[in-house]
């Protein structure tokens, strides 16, 4: 595997993991009724404690 492929794989894996973590946090926030999990640009974004 060359350097090009290694860097690309690492970048994509990091992004995918970050998205999974965000999904997990969103589900947690929903369960605890904390309002919007953020990212949708709405004013409720700031309501939940981060």
């Amino acid at each position: 595997m060359n350097l090009d492929a290694v860097i690309t794989t690492l970048a994509i894996s990091a992004a995918a993991l970050w998205l999974l973590r965000r999904l997990w946090l969103t589900l947690q926030d929903r369960r605890k009724g904390r309002g919007c999990a953020g990212g949708c640009g709405c004013s409720a974004t700031k309501i939940g404690p981060r």
Partner: protein
Amino acid sequence: MIEDAQARVVLVGNPNTGKSTLFNALTGLRQRVGNYPGVTVARKSGTCELADGQKVELVDLPGLYSLAAVSPDERVVVDALLGRVKNEHAPDVVVVVCDATNLLRNLFLAAQIAELGLPMVIAVNQMDAAKARGIEIDGPLLSYRLNGVPVVLVSAWKGEGITEIRRAVAHALTHKTIFPVVAWPDAIAKAVATVALTAERDTQQPVPEALAQRLLFDSAPTIAEAIGWSAEAREMPIRQAREQVRRSGLNPPAAEPMVHYARLREILEGVVRGVNRETTTVAVDSILLHRIFGPLCFAVIMLGLFWSVFALAKLPMAWIQNGVDLTKAFAASHLVSTPMLQSLVADGVVGGVGAFLTFLPQILILFLFVGILEDSGYMARAAFIMDRLFSWCGLNGKSFVPLLSGFACAIPGLLSTRTIEDPKARLATAFTVPFMSCSARFPIYALMCAAFIGPRYGAFWESVAMVGMHVVGLVIAVPTAFILTRFILKVRPAPFVLELPRYQMPKPRDVIWRMWQNAYEFVSKAGTLIFAITFVVWALTYFPRDPAVAERVRAESPQMNAEHLEARVQAAYVEQSWMGRFGKSVQPVFDPCGFDWKLTVGVLASFPAREVIVSTLGITYSLGKGADANSEDLRVAMREAKWTEGSRVDTPIFTLPTVLALMIFFALCSQCGSTVATLAQEAGSWGWAAASFFYMTALAWIFATAVYQIGSKLL
């Protein structure tokens, strides 16, 4: 962090008294936004420096008319004043913000708060408007009659009286200035004492008279639940106490305002002078709220708003597009030795995020105008005009705030349905909120308008299309609400009271501050969610890369020049990528709507969050064009896109029917994971969320198909 030792000062008052403007003036926008524990009510606080140099925590509480709290917002205010919020003691000073043009009604709240025995300052705000109406207020006389409670005449909008407020709060902190309580008639005093005693006995905790009054007067069980007095235990003693009041000739629910208002009229005798002249607000409202001219003006204002958004955003959008192109070229030229990384950065990240960021100027201008309309007082009129439409379809009058919020984002709209007491009306409102065209739909409308409608038909028709897309959800929501409220949930209609604020000149600092906050949200989303998704979408559109594909394409077209051949190779790679294969397998479902496989991929990728479509199209079109195509933006690439197979081969994909079908699909489809989850939470069941998802998605498909099929036959 605010230290515990710091004094806490709260701002309370009726809605539309200018509390937030005063809060901004006192804190200088150094604010923190959090939430109250356990509820989704925003807690806005900041640090305020008093005249003596002391720093206090200033909290801006939600507006309310009375301590008889029903909605979550009102409950928070009562809890905060009683010191019942977790980790918060009762406030050290309460600043009651009053509207100078309606001092009597505003002081009713102050008189209720007086029963809690908290040091108080009266801020008589909007003095500029009062003077314009010919009203004069004698502050020192009012202060004298209130046993020395500081009374400050303020015009927060003009910044007048702010120093005096800082001085008055410092004085109230030191001298504990208490608003004198009313002398209750004997029957009420005895009934309150009886309720307090019984509640203390049943709950094993001290129940002050202020709480006992709420237990006696309020129909909502807010205080009883807060002190843990069960419905069975309290029913009999409260009924007996109310009967005691009734026997003395007083009606318990009306007794409290009657007694307070009688005393307040005495206090205000000679304090408020002059005549309350009819102002321009009344004259303007006679047109803007007219049965016929009102809706017409509303339509003209909305058309003008969207036209301005398009016209003013053109130049800054071109600058951003140039910036994106330069970044793309820079990245491509510096990563030649690593072609995979070059494609990831240039086509994936810069192409995807850049396509989304291009719409920043439109979003900014939209929020600027919405802020101006809100602060000028017109938005409340818009709610009033819409009230006529919605009362026809059986929605509760309180549905308007959630529906109006839904135009910004469905999530706060759904959360604000909590102000509706009737659970059935609440459910019907929650079901219709996602139909309102939220700001996340804006980028796809803007892309379609900018790429196809504007260049062919001009800015006016762009605005018409934009208004049309915002109206289409509303048009579908009305019959949906009608069926739900009349036949399924059988909601009883309830009256709606809306206080219309005075018209006033928006304060530039506040409008720009809110625009800045929205810009921050938009850019941070581009830098986080959209940024991360572009990596995944790029990978799915780039891989697998079988060299045999390139060899096959080159063998098929040996005479073609190198540039065109490279573009064809890139297009073939995208078609056989995972995303391409997936899109092609699902495309037959969306074929009746006129969507090709790339649009299908965009639509499917948008189900978690609808704004993802712009970046997804940015990547699929960037990759398909090859690395040399970085000077062409997404709009040009889409205009040139053609069908590569089937009966429509070599004809443009994006015709007017396709563009309208796509916009209508996005206007009606349930494409937001957070909204579906919030609806499930608010409705208390996933069944309603699933019903909403399938209903909206099916409607979107049906309408998009109808528009495409009928449009293709006619045009």
